[in-house]
């Protein structure tokens, strides 16, 4: 007994040490220079935690060996064989298995005798979260590997969505019922139903979300699997589970938010819009909506862009932003992005206005291009940054016969993948006409003085 207590103390000590290693590992994973070491450290922590746990086992060693060896083999094989392009779906798959493991742990705990109500709640929570993680991840895997083609709107999808909605009251019921009854029922009739419902719910959760949003969803599921593990830790009174699980849960959440931002969405938008439009006919909300963006988010998008076209206008001159613009251009180039400047002949208020300013800021002549040069390949541009230009990028000049500027050739930034428009307000330019560009699907408005907006982006780059 004494001996056992001692072992427990030692185990706990090692758990603490490996928790600390997990913490440091995650921290190191967040920096390019230390990321590889961080991963090793966290693997080492995992090894310690697992090894020390083996000092006091209850299950048959054969089962354990079989499970670990088989699992290790499968996992390693997949990890080594998989094509690098298929990595996102692999992460989803692994994550699903992690969720399944906690799901099974909680199930097993449910079978234990003498659960307190508190424990019962924990069990149910773990099952619910673990189960959703599992089946949700499988769907995400299917979608990413393009094995699953069902999208939102299909009947099957809608059925699963109903399961998801159903699962919530069901969850509340299984949690509350025993609390009211005051005792915990052993394998009640509804338990297996709940298990199945949970798995269905996970499918319904991920099914309606589009493939492009999958990375965000995977990150969210990853966070969920962490939380499930943490709950399992509470259940098993194991602190390394708690720490590692909640670390993953929390950092995963933050990561999810960051990634959603980088895609210019909010999480609720990703999840909710998925649902909302699944019932309707979708795609009818296109005109009239202005989508503002912050410089943080703009930065995240620019950082991932491989070609950028800067289109300066009179607003750049007013803001005297030429120096920061050049700086941003250089930083983008350092980042491996191809940068060009699209100079419209009448940008500014005098012939050659942009040239004067860009020359002052030392932007090389070789980077300047005329509309004829940039328009044909506009669709290969990842981001067009319109800096205080307005009339010269107004698509109604080419599209709306009645417009006072109709007939002027423009820089057709609206054909780029994404357009940032930097200006202070929605007001019009020299010609006094409204600009439909601002309302396009692929346009984001970065409001504020151009010098400041770009200054902020530059600052982000320098971090």
């Amino acid at each position: 007994m004494e001996n056992l207590a001692n072992i427990q103390v030692i185990q706990n000590m090692i758990y603490i040490i490996s928790s600390v290693m997990f913490i440091l590992g995650i921290k190191m994973l967040g920096k390019e220079a230390t990321a590889v070491k961080g991963n090793y450290l966290s693997a080492l922590a995992m090894f310690f935690a697992v090894a020390i746990t083996c000092l006091s086992l209850e299950i048959d060693i054969k089962i354990i060996l079989a499970g670990v060896l088989l699992g290790g083999l499968i996992g390693s094989l997949i990890a080594i064989k998989v094509k690098m392009t298929a990595i996102p779906e692999m992460v989803a798959l692994f994550n699903g298995f992690g969720g399944l493991a906690t799901f099974l742990i909680a199930w097993s705990q449910f079978n234990e005798p003498d659960n307190s109500i508190f424990q019962h709640v924990l069990v149910m929570l773990t099952i619910y979260i673990g189960g959703i993680t599992f089946s949700g991840s499988l769907i995400a895997y299917g979608k990413l590997s393009e094995k699953l083609k069902l999208g939102k709107g299909s009947i099957v999808t809608n059925v699963f969505i109903s399961f998801f909605y159903l699962s919530m009251p069901a969850f509340i019921y299984v949690v509350i019922e025993p609390s009211i009854a005051g005792f915990v029922p052993q394998v009640p009739s509804y338990f297996s139903i709940f298990l199945v419902l949970t798995l269905m719910a996970g499918i319904g959760f991920v099914m309606p979300i589009g493939g492009g949003d999958m990375p965000v969803v995977i990150s969210l599921l990853n966070s969920l699997s962490g939380i499930a593990a943490a709950f399992a830790g509470l259940l098993l009174l194991n602190n390394v589970l708690i720490v590692a699980g909640s670390l993953v849960g929390a950092s995963g959440l933050i990561l999810t938010i960051i990634m959603a931002k980088a895609m210019n969405r909010t999480i609720t938008n990703i999840l909710f819009v998925g649902y909302a439009s699944s019932g309707q006919t979708a795609s009818s909300e296109e005109q009239g909506e202005v989508k503002p963006i912050t410089s943080d988010d703009a930065y995240l998008i620019l950082e991932n862009a491989s070609s950028v076209l800067v289109v300066p206008g009179y607003g750049m001159a007013v803001a005297q932003a030429q120096h920061v613009v050049r700086e941003m251009g250089e930083l983008l180039e350092d980042n491996g992005t191809e940068v060009k400047y699209g100079i419209h002949p009448v940008a500014g208020r005098m012939p050659g206005h942009m040239n004067v300013l860009l020359a002052e800021a030392n932007v090389s002549y070789d980077l300047l291009a005329e509309p004829e040069d940039v328009n044909p390949s506009m669709d290969t541009i990842d981001v067009a940054i319109v800096i205080g230009a307005n009339d010269v990028v107004n698509p109604s000049a080419t599209e709306e016969e009645g417009s006072p500027i109709y007939g002027m050739p423009i820089i057709e930034v609206h054909n780029a993948k994404t357009v940032f428009v930097l200006k202070r307000s929605m007001s019009s330019g020299f010609a006094g006409v409204q600009n439909p560009l601002f309302f396009r699907e692929n346009t984001r408005m970065l409001f504020g003085d151009a010098k400041e907006s770009i200054g902020q982006i530059v600052a982000e780059f320098k971090d």
């Binding site: 913490i23 991963n39 697992v50 690098m84 993953v248």
Partner: protein, 90 residues
């Protein structure tokens, strides 16, 4: 109960720490970080190992938990490592 309180506390503190740790991560590291965190969530393996063995049902559950958790752990770390080694080459 006391125990739960303390453990809950550990949970809380870890969450705070997790939030603080990942506040400024370059976007190139998003995927590896996600993958690395995913490997860590394989810590469920420790939980699986702690399960008690009482009857075949429990054994099956334990085996399943150990199996899947192991896949998560091994696969997760290896994939993360592969991903990170790609960066270095650049």
């Amino acid at each position: 109960m006391e125990m739960y309180v303390l453990l809950g506390f550990v949970l809380l503190l870890s969450i705070f720490l997790g939030l603080e740790l990942i506040s400024k991560v370059p976007s190139t590291l998003h995927t590896p970080l996600m993958s690395g965190a995913n490997a860590i969530s394989g810590i469920a393996l420790v939980g699986a190992l702690m399960l008690s063995s009482a009857g075949q049902m429990q054994d099956i559950l334990a085996f399943g938990a150990i199996l899947f958790a192991s896949i998560n752990v091994f696969g997760g770390y290896l994939v993360t490592n592969r991903m990170l080694s790609m960066f270095k080459k650049k």
